[in-house]
Symmetry: C2
Subunit: 224 residues, 2 copies
DNA sequence: AAGAAGTTTGGACCGCCGGTCCAACTCCAA
DNA sequence: TTGGAGTTGGACCGGCGGTCCAAACTTCTT
């Protein structure tokens, strides 16, 4: 059968040239505004007032776009961690930087745990590795220590990101934690659960995250 | 407009009754055979020789199905961890059990880091919490220690699962690690990266995972 | 100056997805 | 025997990621 469709005529050329960087920038905007599920290639074309072919001309696929967007955010964090302070403090600063970045952009947390060898994760590995070296952890042990720390940070990132996605405001958060505690307490009479439920309301994600980093640092220095 | 479609007549009643359990079981089979992307409601209907309505009659949605499937696998692991041994050993056994389960079912690793308060993750929290209690970690510190350990395990789980998804055989794995090391070494002259690349070929995921667990255990007991 | 060669753009199109809906069917109690 | 309650299959819907191609624009050649 013949193709009877008549393409609509083109208007004028767009004044602002499209580029990979501009597309990634727009993707970050869409992700921040509408969340991970909100980033569709269609939404992106609308945001950039263009067509789908134009985007796929600059970008391989959506996966690459997400990786580039996450790398953009993480790159800003790792760039801010210098070598001018105590390496233990530098590791705390790096971890907190990632935590805060994920608090501001929850989709990054999900993305980081999706693919181990994407550029953003590589950045984190590298930054952790060099701080551990400065800390004096020798070669073979450094791989184990780095893997432990990176995996902890990525795991916490994903969990907190999922939480942040679910609850927006602080008031919502408090109510949500209470509902959760009540559910646990009712569902399971085990004293460990009862105890955890009763402590849930005075729980601070950021503090707990940092406590985890300190446990790790204690473990590293104790074994050195 | 009127509906002109003529439904095909029904045959006989299915001999094996459908139930939520049977559907979850089938979902695990499909996931193991074709991976996470392979689990579509359509594939499931084919595997069960039924229609889509029948499935949605027993299951709320695909998310619930994945959570139930993961809970099925994790439940078998946590059930195998008793209280009859040294609590430190019990924690190592639990962590290794999860590692091996994810090695056998990579989709579980991805699923666990998707949603913090799904039943499977709750099981892990509970199991870790009770072992920490036996270890003598007091209440408030227990929350921090448990969170550190659980987040580490989940983070590592997601990362290793992504790796296991990409590479099937051991030979593939070796070749893949070499390619990766070469890419790193070429891409980044930083000595930390060069060093890591040169060590990559003699790297064992399972050993490294266990080393991480030990770092956290050292940190926890040192602070007690 | 003009046209050829190459690049960027927009949108129609494809196959597939998760989820809804409802008529047909089975089963069981009255 | 019959009629309601519970179950089943598949048509249908809107939306997704990705491909493809001709029109429009830019750059280079002569």
């Amino acid at each position: 059968m013949m193709d009877m469709t008549i393409p609509t005529p083109r208007n004028t050329r767009r004044s602002d040239a499209l580029s990979r960087d501009r597309i990634v920038e727009a993707a970050v905007e869409v992700l921040d505004a509408t969340g991970e599920a909100g980033l569709t290639v269609r939404a992106l074309t609308a945001h950039l007032s263009t067509g789908r072919g134009a985007i796929y001309h600059h970008v391989a696929n959506k996966e690459g776009l997400l990786a580039a967007a996450a790398d953009d955010i993480v790159g800003r964090v790792t760039a801010g961690v210098g070598d001018d302070e105590d390496p233990e403090q530098a590791i705390r600063a790096l971890a907190l930087g990632i935590f805060d970045a994920i608090d501001a952009h929850p989709w990054v947390g999900t993305q980081l745990s999706r693919e181990p060898w994407q550029p953003a994760v590589f950045r984190i590995w590298k930054s952790v590795g060099s701080q551990l070296q400065r800390l004096g952890v020798p070669g073979p042990a450094r791989a184990d220590a780095g893997s432990a720390l990176v995996n902890y940070v990525l795991g916490a990132a994903a969990q907190y990101a999922a939480g942040a996605r679910r609850v927006t405001s602080d008031a919502d958060r408090k109510a949500y934690l209470e509902t959760l505690a009540a559910q646990w307490a009712q569902h399971d009479p085990d004293p460990v659960v009862q105890d955890a439920a009763s402590q849930l309301h005075e729980h601070d994600d950021r503090e707990q995250f940092l406590a985890g980093v300190d446990i790790f640092l204690t473990g590293i220095t104790a074994r050195r």
